[in-house]
Amino acid sequence: MIEEVVAQLRYRAGSLWRKPRVDLPLLGALALLMGVGLMTLYSASDLDRGQVISQALRFALGLVLMLLIARIPPLSLRNWTPWLYAGSVLLLLAVAALGEGRGAHRWLDLRVLRFQPSEMLKLTMPMMVAWYLNGRPLPPSWLTLGVVGVLIAIPAALVAEQPDLGTALLIAASGAFGVFLSGLAWWRIGLLLGAFAAAVPVGWHFLHDYQRNRVLTLLNPEADPLGNGWHIIQSKIAVGSGGVWGRGWHHGTQSRLEFLPEHTTDFIFSVFAEEWGLVGVLLLLALYVFIIARCLWIAAEAKDTYARLLAGAISMSLFVYVMVNGGMITGMLPVVGVPLPLVSYGGTSAVSLLAGFGVLMSIHAHRKAVGN
């Protein structure tokens, strides 16, 4: 009995090794990105090996998770989707009821491990949208759209209430991309965007004071240079002083001397921009563009609508991370806690991102096997 299980496990591990079912260009690009991330983290943490090793371990964990997910056929994922979605929304409700965290209720303490259920939604949300749209004629009708809207709004509102605007934005965006890719008519998109723009003043009333301050600070950071404006000003100084060629690895003073707050997490891009300059920034953005393009390619290759929409939504979400984070550190967008994918220090985000890439790998690996 035990021997059977062991033998089974050994076979599985062996096949994982022999047939990893990965897309090598994507894996290569991700490895390069993680390398850049660890290198930047080493500098941003002021040469703290401990932090780098702990981040590398999370990457390793995420990669193992990715390889495991890659072996799950998209069909199974599709079947599990409603349960996964329902489960993660329930966890969100649990967090709202009894969660704990620093100022914001984001964390669920399960004694064994603490994690943010909102991270799960980054994956289960596009899965749910893809699952729902998969069963509907496309392009979607208003009715379909309405149902999808509710599916997106419930978890997004719960997360925004935590309050974690950045994650809520990412969750909502991942869902919205699914709708966009499903071929929603352009005029309907225009109509929705118009309605959204009209709702902004209403939404303003529901923002927390600190969130409003962040928006106001964006408009005039110098008005409060030691308070809310500090992040933006110091980040812009870091980016601007980098120049074209950068100040060199571990030569950025803004983070080393701790002027730049959260310089290993949300503002690590500033450190990168300071040390590697415009050239480094363009290369890094090019790497992201490559990853997104490759992911969209995988999505286009997928044989069923569920897999296509899921893969497409995950790839485009990656763009939201980069855009919101890059916009934040350059003072274009408000300070919203969105990490730079696979570069910012932090476990949950890295693991959930790599899990997402695992789904993509799975779709890639099963592109021929599954049809609708």
Binding site: G135, P139, A238, G240, F259, G277, L296, T305, M316
Partner: protein
């Protein structure tokens, strides 16, 4: 999977739709990231210079370095003001945690007064919490030891070395050298903020105040790299060393000063000794005095209140601000005025009967001796201090010519000595009285002005200056204390440029000779008899005994009778009479007579200066002040 009841899904169409959408989405992504790249380019290329500057400003803190204050010496190189290493206790609020608790606990280890706490709280207002704030200055070795043992209890509290000003001769030079004190808000308004960025102290009185510019030096700076909490991490190589202030050498001779001060035996008064040939002040004493050292690091409130309340006013600089009725010490000057104005010849005589009347008035102006001194000429009138001679002379002069002539000797205005806070005294005139009291001038006031009484008020420095001018045959020099300066320890001590001698205020040298005769007669046979005994040079002098209140009792037969407090007593002298090298003025606030109480003090000063040739040996620079030339004339 697709249900037959639902509209048909067109898989192939959906796939094509997806590809188009994915392409559109990808294009949107590329456009957005291009916009982001443009933003990066804007910050990193166009605004690079500005942000580089701001990054540098973030990182580098320029810390001012206080220059070492110049030292002050007497003419022989005796140190009067020095900088000594001391230790102070500084508290950094940010690191100290619960500040009140820290202060309470500290007070259990070393004494901390309420004054210290109050000052600490005042200083705190102007500083950031990461800056150290002085809690105690001048810690004793015992205090440092006690704190060091308990140091682990006090994060953010540190013993910091610094240089503090010290006055080794203490009270003896408090009124001359003055003292420095902590920069307060008034000083801040007056001083250049950049120059004093690193300085904690500034000259408050005396030489320390007057020559602040020379003594202070030039501020330097160091650049330190700091982190966001402003904690210094390391000193960067580029900086500027501060330039120490100039070392100053005063014309004062500390030995002479010491002798003069001792001669007062604690009686309130003042004395000035001047070299009449150049205006150098050799000694200036104001008794009583005070120890300036406690003022440097903040005198305790109670001690300061006690000094302020003391009846004999130790804080008053009597040399500059003490007002005395000059009395008979003015007679040589009045007599000289008679000769110079052509109203008298030296041989002219006046009959002293004991009483003088203005023609047509009945009020009697008395002589000091009952029944008068008989018929006296100028020399006798000065020697015996015969009031009647000067009553009639003043009356003949009239107050306008009288005060006009007296102002040539510097009465009624500050002498211009290099100290702050000098009073101008009062030289009575019609204008002065009109301005002060809005009243007309009466002839009787002219009469008593003739013997240095009435409204007339002189300061000891004015009297010393006038006597020095007289001693120098009418050629005045502005009295001054700064003799030489050294602009760096490796530099030569150089004499400072002196003001050019002004033209003599005496037109006919013979007139001066007559006055000199009179003043020599004062000490040889007149009111100051005996002052010259045993002295190797001829002394010319004049006593002064000014009434603080008039005779009310006829039993006081002469000016020297009655209670001692009744008089301010003065003595002025110069010697050698023909070629004076020192002129002295002494004023005592209470005494029997000028001859009895003030003259001995003057004699002790002369003894200490001339016979042992202290003047010659005690000349640090060998040569006397260089002859003034046209350029130095322009400078002053």
């Amino acid at each position: 999977m697709a249900s037959v009841f639902r509209p048909l899904k067109e898989t192939r169409h959906e796939a094509a739709l997806f590809r188009r959408r994915a392409l559109a989405g990808f294009l949107i992504i590329v456009v957005c990231l291009l916009a982001l790249s443009v933003r990066f380019r804007y910050l990193q290329v166009e605004q690079h210079d500005e942000f580089s500057t701001r990054s540098e400003a973030n990182r580098v803190l320029t810390r001012p370095l206080a220059p070492a204050r110049g030292l002050i010496y007497d003419r022989n190189g005796v140190l009067l003001a020095e900088n000594v290493a001391a230790f102070r206790l500084e508290v950094t609020p940010e690191q100290a945690g619960d500040l009140q608790h820290t202060l309470d606990a500290l007070a259990g280890v070393i004494p901390i007064s309420d004054d210290d706490i109050a000052r600490f709280n005042t200083l705190r207002k102007g500083k950031r919490s990461y800056q150290g704030i002085v809690l105690r200055l001048k810690l004793s070795e015992e205090e440092i030891a006690k704190f060091s043992i308990n140091r682990w209890q006090f994060p953010g509290v540190e013993v910091v070395p610094y240089l503090t000003r010290s006055y080794p001769l203490g009270a003896e030079f408090a009124h001359t050298v003055g003292y420095v004190g902590r920069i307060d808000s008034d000083d801040m308004a007056r001083l250049d903020k950049d120059d004093y960025a690193g300085s904690t102290h500034v000259g408050k009185t005396g030489i320390e105040r007057y020559y602040e510019d020379r003594l202070h030096g030039e501020v330097g700076y160091e650049k330190v790299e700091v982190n966001a909490d402003h904690r210094p991490l390391r000193t960067l190589p580029d900086g500027l060393a501060p330039k120490p202030g100039e070392n100053l050498y005063l014309s004062i001779d500390s030995h002479l000063q010491e002798v003069a001060e001792a001669a007062f035996e604690g009686r309130a008064g003042a004395a000035v000794a001047i070299d009449p040939r150049n205006g150098e002040v050799l000694a200036m004493v104001s008794v009583p005095s005070f120890d300036p050292n406690p003022f440097v690091n903040g005198i305790a409130g109670a001690d300061y209140a006690a000094l302020l309340a003391a009846e004999d006013k130790p804080l008053l600089n009597r040399v500059l601000r003490g007002g005395y009725a000059p009395g008979s010490t003015m007679k040589p000057f009045v007599g000289l005025g008679g000769l110079e104005l052509g109203l008298r010849k030296p041989s002219d005589t006046v009959l002293s009967t004991g009483e003088f009347f203005i023609p047509g008035q009945s009020r009697a102006y008395r002589d000091d001796v009952r029944g008068g001194s008989g018929r006296v000429d100028l020399v006798q009138a000065i020697a015996q201090s015969v009031n009647t001679y000067f009553y009639s002379l003043a009356l003949d002069m009239g107050i306008d010519r009288f005060s006009g002539f007296m102002s040539r000797f510097g009465f009624g205005k500050p002498t211009g000595i290099d100290l702050i806070g000098e009073s101008g005294g009062v030289l009575p005139s019609k204008e002065w009285k009109r301005g002060r009291f809005n009243q007309p001038w009466y002839p009787g006031e002219t009469v008593i002005a003739g013997i240095g009484q009435g409204y007339w008020v002189v300061t000891p420095i004015q009297l010393g200056n006038a006597v020095a001018t007289m001693a120098n045959r009418g050629v005045p020099h502005v009295p001054h204390l700064l003799r030489a300066a050294q602009s760096g320890i490796d530099r030569k001590v150089e004499l400072v440029d002196k003001a050019a001698a002004l033209p003599s205020v005496i037109k006919k040298p013979d007139n001066w000779l007559a006055i000199e005769q009179g003043m020599i007669a004062v000490v040889s046979s007149g009111t100051g008899r005996g002052v010259n005994d045993g002295f190797p040079y001829v002394i010319a002098g004049k006593t002064g005994t000014a009434e603080r209140y008039s005779r009310t009792d006829e039993t006081w037969t002469s000016i020297s009778s009655g209670p001692i407090e009744r008089h301010q007593v003065l003595f002025e002298a110069f010697t050698p009479a023909d070629d004076a090298r020192i002129a002295v003025a002494v004023a005592l606030e209470a005494g029997r007579s000028g001859a009895h109480d003030a003259a001995p003090i003057a004699r002790k000063i002369l003894d200490a200066w001339l016979p042992g040739d202290r003047e010659a040996q005690g000349n640090l620079l060998g040569a006397r002040a260089p002859a003034p030339d046209a350029t130095t004339q322009a400078a002053r």
